[in-house]
């Protein structure tokens, strides 16, 4: 693959860029984009009401920066439409004026995809937060794209259904952003990804045309499945305004086990046993190493689960509909891993208090690391044999100069490699120690450099590590067809 890349002239250029640019260095502003003036603002105020056009720098500030304070733009305008038609009018105008636009959901992304790189205007979907319908027979829910994920869950829960996607950021992230990012999360192991669970999408293209693919059908095999293009395109192909999603019945019997292991090989063995012995009730298999636990303990109100510290912690969740059936399966599994000395310590939570305490250990890692200082985040898919090796390699490389931690959805082969430098800003020297090494390592084992976070503004120049030049070429021509003026989320996803 590498030889192919070097043969290709365009990509050769981008390969050089990899060495020269680190993530904190921005691509230059493209001068083809118009800068906004008062006339533009007046126009937008006519489309929306005055409360939905934010120009005061203090109002705009929060939209310009991501929550990690890693990416920051200089936009001076935020638009908050309420309807698809308003989005359409805004984009049509921007397309004619060549004004660049960044669509923004809950702004909880991890790769800088939802904040402007320069002065792109921010199209916030936050006010498009209506749940429009739910079919209690099929379990299909339809809502506007700005609906907060947790609100969909609270809406479905009394009806006996649950959302098939669950993330640490559920309280702020929005479904449209989740879909645009093709976010993964904890339940992917059980319910599969968004490409399977999203049944329909309504989106607005750069020229303002509304693409209505808002099907609520499980099976619809008519021509190209256009909605799939929007899933994971990170707002570069269109702005998602509505989604319909199939939701599963909410499990009534939930158990969470927390276990410690003294080697990663044992984690792998437990994973295969969990898959075969728990089968249909297995709903999460997460792992975190001891340094993760230490960071969480330093920042959260949680207790160290066991007196005996071990290098690896596993969280296993089962969800089902019959307590007796589930606990029988679970008991057999627990006895098997105990009798074969696969675990050092373990505990099982059946009440909500302990269930949430165990989940907190896993779910607050990202937030806790963020409180320490700069965090260099890598979201990799790797084969099981190399899964944890990269963490150890990086730990040796940094020799204590940074805190290298590994956690993630081991059940899905997805590692979150995080390198944290407490009380320090983002530094070029640290980036240079990580990149492109981590990407090259991942690529050489045929892994993915972005398992679930997306590409955003962090990784366009690294896309080639996971996608062939022909694939990237095809992506570019799709982008060109759907957004010929390149006004939607520029500088992101695709390399120049």
């Amino acid at each position: 693959m590498l030889t192919n890349i070097i043969k290709n002239n365009n990509l050769k250029k981008c390969f050089r860029q990899v060495k020269n640019y680190s993530t904190i260095i921005k691509p230059e502003r493209d001068s083809k984009y118009a800068t906004i003036n008062n006339q533009d603002i007046n126009y937008f105020q006519n489309i929306l009401d005055k409360h939905s056009v934010l120009t005061d720098p203090s109002d705009v500030e929060g939209f310009n920066q991501d929550w990690m304070k890693k990416y920051k733009g200089t936009s001076s305008l935020v638009l908050k439409p309420k309807t698809t038609e308003q989005v359409s009018e805004i984009l049509k105008y921007c397309n004619n004026r060549k004004i660049a636009v960044v669509p923004q959901g809950g702004n909880t992304g991890l790769v800088g995809g939802s904040v402007p790189v320069h002065d792109e205007i921010i199209l916030s979907l936050a006010n498009m937060n209506k749940i429009e319908g739910f079919d209690p027979i099929t379990g299909v829910v339809t809502c506007q794209s700005g609906t907060v994920l947790e609100n969909i869950e609270s809406y479905l829960s009394p009806l006996g259904y649950t959302v098939p996607i669950d993330l640490g950021a559920k309280g702020s992230c929005q479904i449209g952003g989740n879909v645009s990012t093709n976010a993964g999360g904890i339940r992917l192991l059980r319910y599969g990804g968004l490409h399977g669970n999203i049944l329909g999408i309504e989106a607005v293209l750069a020229d303002g045309s509304i693409i209505d693919c808002l099907s609520t059908l499980r099976k619809d095999n008519t021509g190209y499945d256009l909605k799939q293009l929007f899933i994971g395109s990170e707002g570069t192909l269109g702005v998602i305004t509505k989604v319909s999603m199939i939701t599963p019945p909410k499990p009534t019997s939930v158990n969470v086990g927390l276990f410690t292991c003294d080697s990663f090989d044992k984690v792998k063995t437990i994973l295969t046993r969990a898959k075969s012995q728990l089968g249909d009730i297995l709903s999460a298999f997460e792992f975190m190493d001891r340094p993760c636990i230490d960071v969480v303990l330093a920042h959260q109100q949680v207790q160290d689960p066991f007196d005996n510290k071990q290098p690896f912690y596993i969280l296993i969740e089962t969800s089902g509909f019959n307590e007796t059936h589930d606990s029988e399966k679970l008991n057999d599994f627990l006895e098997s891993i105990m009798n074969d000395d696969l675990i050092v310590d373990g505990s099982l939570a059946t009440d909500t208090k302990n269930i949430s305490a165990f989940w907190k250990l896993r779910e607050s890692i990202t937030e806790s690391l963020g409180k320490e200082g700069a965090v260099y985040k890598y979201d990799l898919s790797l084969p099981m044999d190399q899964f944890y090796s990269i963490v150890e390699i990086m730990r040796n490389k940094f020799e204590g100069k940074a805190n290298v931690v590994g956690f993630g959805h081991v059940g899905d082969g997805n590692l979150h490699l995080n390198i944290s430098t407490p009380k320090k800003p983002y530094q070029k020297e640290i980036f240079d120690m990580i990149e492109p090494f981590v990407y090259e390592y991942t690529s050489s084992h045929r892994g993915s450099i972005s398992a679930e976070h997306g590409i955003g503004s962090m990784k366009p120049n690294h896309l080639h590590y996971s996608k062939s030049s022909n694939s990237i070429h095809l992506m570019k021509s799709i982008k060109n067809t759907m957004d010929p003026n390149n006004i939607l989320n520029p500088y992101k996803v695709l390399p120049n």
Binding site: F259, P305, F306, M338, D345, G346, A349, T352
Partner: protein, 248 residues
Amino acid sequence: MKILVPIKRVVDYAVKIRVKSDKSGVETANVKMSMNPFDEIAVEEAIRLKEKGIAKEIAAVSMGPKQSQETIRTAIAMGADTGIHVETDKELQPLAVAKLLQKLVETEKPQLIILGKQAIDDDCNQTAQMLAGLLNWPQATFASKVDIKDDKVHVTREIDGGLETLSMKLPAIVSCDLRLNEPRYAKLQNIMKSKKAQLNVLTPEKLGVDTTSHLSTVSVEEPPKRKGGVKVENIDQVVEGLKKNALI
């Protein structure tokens, strides 16, 4: 020294409580149940006293339907030595519970009874006090710290404006407040063992206690639904609204 820890199986604290359609009580069918969190603190405190070598044996006791045995097993998994189940499908009120406990004290002969200050389902906060009255034992309620030296218990309680420390002679009753300790997670090995533990199963009849309730429930109602707020344009309207609703 032997410690008796009465524990109650209650609707899990995270469950949204629903009132039964006939208003006779709250819905408990197909609802997640757990150990009353205050009782869990009591179990933890008893285990800590055992770990310090002060207590020799911990007996956990629960009263109610068959499923209460799960709660007893949870206490055993945490570290209680034995479990007693007083099985009844009738609803028990604090006085009946206290009378049953009084009977158990005769056979179990504990020196100390530690229990939660209240159960999160009925919020009665009466069992410890009633039991102390029936046994004529000293009591310290709402404990946030418990120290035992020789035959004396020193209990610190959080009261308005500071801390109060009581001292009483054993045998005694202590009811636990939230900040007494943080309960441990039961170890998997012990969870598995607890599933096979033999429980001492009794009934109110066997203990010769009349559990007939002297109180009857007239009606159980949900709290009134919160009304949505209104948006106002300016300060004057805020003041006007407050005056109109007699809030200032």
